[in-house]
């Protein structure tokens, strides 16, 4: 193998790569998915009832509502704005506070507020919002709570937010989408256009070609893995260990990509295989998505050994002793995959190895 030739080939791949649709999608898709997940699970699928307020004066109640953890508060400037928000379901309930509302409440005067309720809002949300507004008004009026409440938490199961549960899936997608697709597609494209035949007639060996294509996959995969962890604020703890795991994960992705590139002849077949086989790559992420699934099921799949150390470090605060075994298994799997790629190349008898 010639490092110089590998370097030249890699430079060509890096130059041609960004013009490829898959390269662009390997970069855009994980970022897009990550942003959508944080939007969807941060706000859209939140179970908090949403309260809209129009304050015609300058009521303290608005600031008090904003501080509440049980309700999402949005402010609107006019009656028609809040009606529109309630009609569209942007808020479950909208209230209009009249001018001098606070003084009237403090002095105990009879006051009227208008409440718009979204027809599709859930009964429990209406109840929570009604109770919350009443409680806020009592607080504003200076009424002292007639009871003392003690909250006791039972059991030791911790609630894991959906955005956290989805992180392993997003990381796996970031690492494996480009890392696998790019080398595979590049190989298949070269085979379809017969440029690979032309290339191996020169002193360049098939090994040089595979290493260059694999390196491209590893670089893209590694960069995307780091970007996604940073975007999800999960790169802070033990960055060196995370990079080590990501390098090994990216290597696995590139090796699987090269294996497919060697075995598959047509782009359409590659898409069909990845579409069907993708579930095997992403399966371990479902163990984190649904904690009810026993962890041993995840261990059956090779990508578990990529994602377990990442989750252990970034979400559970683990260190080297917690991930060492799985990192060694991952490195072992990578070595096995190298042998499998070589064997596949020999078996297909397409090029001298």
């Amino acid at each position: 193998m010639s490092l110089k030739r590998v370097g030249i080939l890699l430079r060509r791949e890096l130059w041609q790569g960004p013009k490829n649709f898959i390269f662009i999608w390997a970069v855009i898709a994980p970022i897009l998915i990550s942003l959508v997940v944080s939007l969807v699970f941060g706000t859209l699928f939140s179970e908090k009832p949403k309260l809209g307020i129009v304050d015609e004066g300058s009521s303290q109640l608005v600031a008090m509502a904003r501080e509440l953890p049980s309700v999402t508060t949005k402010e609107y400037s006019t009656d028609s704005d809040i009606r529109e928000a309630v009609e569209s379901g942007a808020v479950d309930m909208g209230i209009v506070l009249p001018e001098d509302f606070d003084n009237s409440v403090i002095q105990g005067e009879e006051t009227e507020i208008t409440a718009y309720i979204w027809g599709e809002s859930l009964a429990k949300d209406r109840t929570i919002l009604g109770g919350t507004i009443a409680s806020l008004i009592r607080e504003l009026a200076g009424q002292e709570a007639p009871v003392e409440i003690e909250a006791i938490t039972l059991g030791d199961e911790v609630s894991v937010p959906w955005s956290d549960r989805l992180l392993p899936l997003i990381v796996l997608m970031a690492v494996f989408f480009g890392g696998l697709f790019l080398p595979a597609l590049s190989m298949i494209n070269e085979k379809e256009k017969k440029t690979l035949d032309a290339l191996v007639i020169t002193p360049t060996t098939i090994g040089d070609v595979l290493v260059a294509k694999g390196l491209l996959g590893i670089i893209l995969s590694l960069v995307m893995g780091i970007v996604i962890l940073i975007l999800n604020q999960a790169f802070g703890a033990e960055p060196a260990l995370l990079v080590l795991v990501l390098v090994l994960g990216a290597t696995m992705a590139a090796e699987i990509g090269l294996l497919l590139g060697v075995l598959v002849k047509k782009t359409t077949s590659l898409f069909a295989i990845v579409k069907f086989g993708g579930i095997l790559l992403y399966a371990p992420a479902f163990v984190y998505l649904f904690p009810q699934i026993p962890e041993w099921i995840g261990m059956i799949f090779p990508t578990y050994y990529v994602i377990q150390p990442i989750v252990e470090i970034s979400q559970l605060g683990g260190g080297w002793p917690d991930i060492a075994t799985n990192v060694f298994i991952l490195a072992g799997l990578n070595l096995i995959l190298i042998v499998v790629v070589i064997l596949a190349l020999k078996r297909t008898k397409q090029y001298a190895v």
């Binding site: 649709f21 929570i128 009443a134 009424q143 007639p146 909250a151």
Partner: protein, 351 residues
């Protein structure tokens, strides 16, 4: 136009479409996956907060409470309540002390204990605390000096909420229809690149027949799959004619977009490069059904909005022709423009 030629072209395209393993797999697996997801999702909406109550003496307010959205069930013992909360039977458990009434009458503050499962979200814990406090206020007769004038906007859906899976129906229908743009655009662009289109036009086949055949295969595939899906998930049980009209117009829209994409793309990869951004844009309106209130007025510039809104209004609210005629008219208008542009630009590529 020669119907025999169009028929032959359709059957050729149909077999070519299913010869492409990727599209064949996506078509079949797509429908199966959507149907499975639909039936796996909950078929009802739990609207109430179920709270368990253990109280040796139950205050009248707690006993007589008949508020929608709040279900209070009395439990035999403190231990049973803890067990039920841990098992997730109740969202919270409330324990009232046996001297609660006496203390309240004396103006003292009784202590109420709330049990929550460890995975209960903070907002629910806070909300239950607020509601229990409010009930005690009611018990001691401290009403608020506030008069609330309530107005419910839109149909009041209490007790008949739309289950999440039915909110997903328009999304799936649009997805099924729009994914067909990929298949049709690939078929056309590959024919253009391989010059088989030119070969066809040397025969007695006219450009008009060619477009009729491509249009029919595109509309047929998209419409057929969408109807099959909607029929299986019960989406056409209410006002079937409107739903079928909307799906047909949606299929025509997908065909027009496929014409446009195939005029730009050279192979399957470039079809995907153009189609996926188009697909993402066309799916955006369905998010408005999934999470109401998240989209603003600009969504009405996306043609698929009129398809999604029609399917949602009719399948989930039983809307009639009078409610959705405007949507269908706008969708038809979009179709005419998009199909005309698609045919015009694609025709140039044939030459």
């Amino acid at each position: 136009m020669n119907l025999r030629i169009i028929g032959a072209l359709i059957s050729k395209d149909f077999s070519l479409f299913f010869r492409n393993r990727f599209f064949a797999l996506v078509t079949v697996l797509g429908i199966v996956a959507y149907i499975i997801i639909y039936f796996v999702m909950p078929s009802s909406v739990d609207e109430s907060l179920k709270i368990g109550l253990y109280a040796p003496v139950i205050p009248p307010v707690f006993e007589q409470l008949q508020e929608e959205g709040l279900e209070i069930e009395v439990v035999e013992s403190d231990e049973a309540l803890r067990q039920a909360v841990t098992e997730g039977q109740y969202v919270a458990g409330v324990v009232l002390p046996d001297d609660i009434m006496e203390k309240l009458m004396l103006g003292q503050k009784p202590q109420i204990t709330l049990y929550f499962a460890s995975d209960t979200p903070e907002e629910i814990k806070d909300a239950v605390g607020v509601m229990v406090r409010e009930l005690v206020y009611l018990q001691i007769g401290q009403p608020l000096a506030i008069e609330v004038s309530e107005e419910i906007l839109g149909p009041d859906m209490i007790g008949m909420q739309i289950p999440p899976r039915d909110r997903l129906r328009p999304l799936f229908a649009v997805f099924i229809i729009m994914v067909e743009t990929l298949g049709l655009a690939t078929l056309i662009s590959e024919e253009v690149e391989r010059r088989t289109i030119r070969a066809l036009l040397v025969t007695p086949t006219t450009v008009r027949e060619l477009f009729a055949a491509k249009g029919a295969i595109g509309v047929g595939l998209a419409f057929g799959q969408a109807v099959l899906f909607m029929a299986i998930v019960g989406g056409i049980s209410s006002q079937p004619l409107i739903i079928l009209t909307a799906l047909l117009l949606g299929a025509v829209l997908a065909t027009g977009i496929a014409f446009l994409i195939s005029s730009l793309a050279k192979d399957m990869m470039s079809v995907m490069a153009w189609s996926i951004p188009a697909l993402i844009i066309l799916i955006i309106p369905s998010l408005g059904v999934l999470a109401p209130g998240t989209l603003t007025g600009w969504v009405e510039f996306i043609p698929s909005y009129y398809l999604v809104d029609t399917v949602h209004q009719v399948a989930n609210f039983g809307a009639g022709w009078g409610d959705v005629w405007y949507n269908l008219l706008v969708l038809l208008g979009f179709n005419l423009v998009i199909v005309w542009i698609g045919i015009t630009v694609l025709r140039r590529r044939f030459r």
